[in-house]
Chain length 460, copies 2
Amino acid sequence: VGEGNVRVPAPAEHLRDATESRAVRGSALASVSPGDTEEVAAVVRWCAAQGLAVVRRGGGTGYSAGAVPAGDAIVIATDRLTGAARVTPEAWRGTFPAGMTTAEVHRRCRESGLFFAPNPGSAESCFIGGNVATNAGGPRSFRYGTTRAWVTGLEAVLGDGRIVRVGGSARKNVETLDFVGLLCGSEGTLGVITEVTLRLQPAPEAELPVLAIYADREAGLDALGSAMACGAVPAALEFLDGGALQAARATLPGGLPPGAAFAVLTEVLGTDTVAESEAAMLREALAPGALTVLAPQTRRDVEALWRWRSGVSLAVTAAAGGKLSEDITVPTERLGEALAAIDRIRVDAGVEMTSWGHAGDGNIHATVMADPTDPEALAAAEAVAHRLFTVPAALDGALSGEHGIGRLKLAAAAAQLNPDVLALQRAVKAAFDPFEIMNPRVKIPSVADQVTPTEQLVSR
Amino acid sequence: VGEGNVRVPAPAEHLRDATESRAVRGSALASVSPGDTEEVAAVVRWCAAQGLAVVRRGGGTGYSAGAVPAGDAIVIATDRLTGAARVTPEAWRGTFPAGMTTAEVHRRCRESGLFFAPNPGSAESCFIGGNVATNAGGPRSFRYGTTRAWVTGLEAVLGDGRIVRVGGSARKNVETLDFVGLLCGSEGTLGVITEVTLRLQPAPEAELPVLAIYADREAGLDALGSAMACGAVPAALEFLDGGALQAARATLPGGLPPGAAFAVLTEVLGTDTVAESEAAMLREALAPGALTVLAPQTRRDVEALWRWRSGVSLAVTAAAGGKLSEDITVPTERLGEALAAIDRIRVDAGVEMTSWGHAGDGNIHATVMADPTDPEALAAAEAVAHRLFTVPAALDGALSGEHGIGRLKLAAAAAQLNPDVLALQRAVKAAFDPFEIMNPRVKIPSVADQVTPTEQLVSR
């Protein structure tokens, strides 16, 4: 791969991801940045021969430590997989190298009049390969589904160094089992994704958000119900609680009204006519009981509002010095029950918490504030984060809607998930990763994890 | 399962599917209709103990003989899996038993103001379980994706009789590998799907089709390009060639203009405002060069047009007495090349052919006419059908976009697909089906099939 592309020891920035805010750090023997798929395959074969674990990383924006290495691992960084992108505007399609940032994919699509819907908050720094590896979501998954819904083909290096292409450029393809879907969200446990082919749509002319702010949660939940019943299909249907609003109040366009305790943020996309028509329906649905309704129209105002929304997570981190953010998911109609259950955990533990997330998808970023330099506070917060996993278990939800299981939820997955399903996962992994080197102890609990669920082993 | 629900010998209607039009018939020891999931599991366990193959069948509308039994198999018919359906309107969700027809699912959704997008032509007789098992498409997959995009959870009986639930009611879920997607389109080779949970959308107020007819293919292909470039995102973007138009001319509302050789059919869905706005964009895009443009507005006229479209396949069958219909898929921009390649095969073989399909998805129902009572004509047609598989191979397409591999394309899959991918399929199947009883010789070629690709073994 070239001497300059092997780093021993691995640089500090390749041992961490967004879980840095909860003081998670990894360890590795070295970090390698292959320049193309063949080089990825050669590195994987070498690791297989040495019996060394391979931890692939993208932009390092994960919240589950799925790309944080542990023990004597080799990090395969995909930052040099930035070869040619190919957009085919007339067929609404693009093929992109795994190491391209999601924001750059968005820009390339726009240049051709096209649109890739998934927009995780970290788009400027995450990689499209990582988005596929985690089946990333984001606000627009409410209408458009998660990343998986838009991937028609991909290239990956399996655990024995074989390069496979699954799916392709055709928008429909049932000639094999759905290996495209299986690799989406596999979190580096089945292979290293090196290139992805996406189906796209025409770029919408207009992107119109509507933000409504309420004095209490009940009014906000009622408004969410009205939004879902109004007949429009918004791209996004988000919520933020009072704590998140307070933490991010400095940058909210127009400022935060006194008494703000809950916000609903929605967005419609389409031609000018379509977007204006649906935005009007949503303004009407959200107005009853609102302290204020903000419906920016100009490009500048719209962008300012979304910049604010994207900054919520950082603002919350800044307010407390650090945080532990989970992304449990419940059936949409049980959002209120889930928030009430989180309240009880918060009060019982006596910690500071805030929640926001993708209301329409029932996906809650339940967040415990903690100063990461205070071990006692951090331990208390980790205990609360662990208790949060009782919420989806009680409400027919899931441990993770978009962040993945990673390392941090491995114990919860081992404890909660159906043993038959866990066994199927191990068998499928064995087919893709016969030497058991691809991201071990991430996503897929081992038999040992199931017998004695242990906390994750990331060094701190 | 109750004596009346075991039929020995299996009734004739459980030995066939839509490939009856090409004289395909199967064989089985018996057919069993379990009444619930536990009964399905008991039957599968019994079959595993006896070493008997299990062939699950839904509505029997398949075009690849994936549910046509062969040899000493036991058919598990899912026609009695019609237990309670549960629709949760406020969360845009429904859970349906596998044996419910797709049309009934559509009706249940409508009653709650909701909408399940996939609409295969056979909706009145196919089962939702079969739609999931084949990852069925249909016209509206262009905008909305195939069935898989809407399934959030399912229950299935694996090959050793274990009942598993994967996914659930949450709209986003990455807590395991994507087993929901893996079972979608697995064609009964991994398990028997017994119940499915679907995410839904609000029912559109308006469904507006636009049909434009052209005097030659080139004008039609140009119009398809204009439709894709006009900024609208129609639900469907279909084409029909002259032969299909002629076969179905009797029922076309308004009649067929003289010289008709190609048609483009598109449809927009949404609120009245949205649908009218996008329908206008598409009328404008399709008008240049058209012999006629039909844009029905009333519910009655709209339904008449779609009834006509749904009847095309039957009309083609009726015209020749029988047909062999494939569903190869190519990248959308290569539709014209694919149709030209099919022309060459047709002329070379001296057979009668017609094509129609899902233009926006590059999915071509290339169809060879043949009288199924004439063995010589049928053999010639089968040879042509086999040659059709060279078209996706040359154009970066796929053997099947929505019908599946079934039995009929097993040899083509064995010959064309990457051996590494075929090996992965067998390994994954072994995890779900340890006794190798679930729909053997369907979808997943064996090592023997790969070494010596043979024609399919369905008795005729």
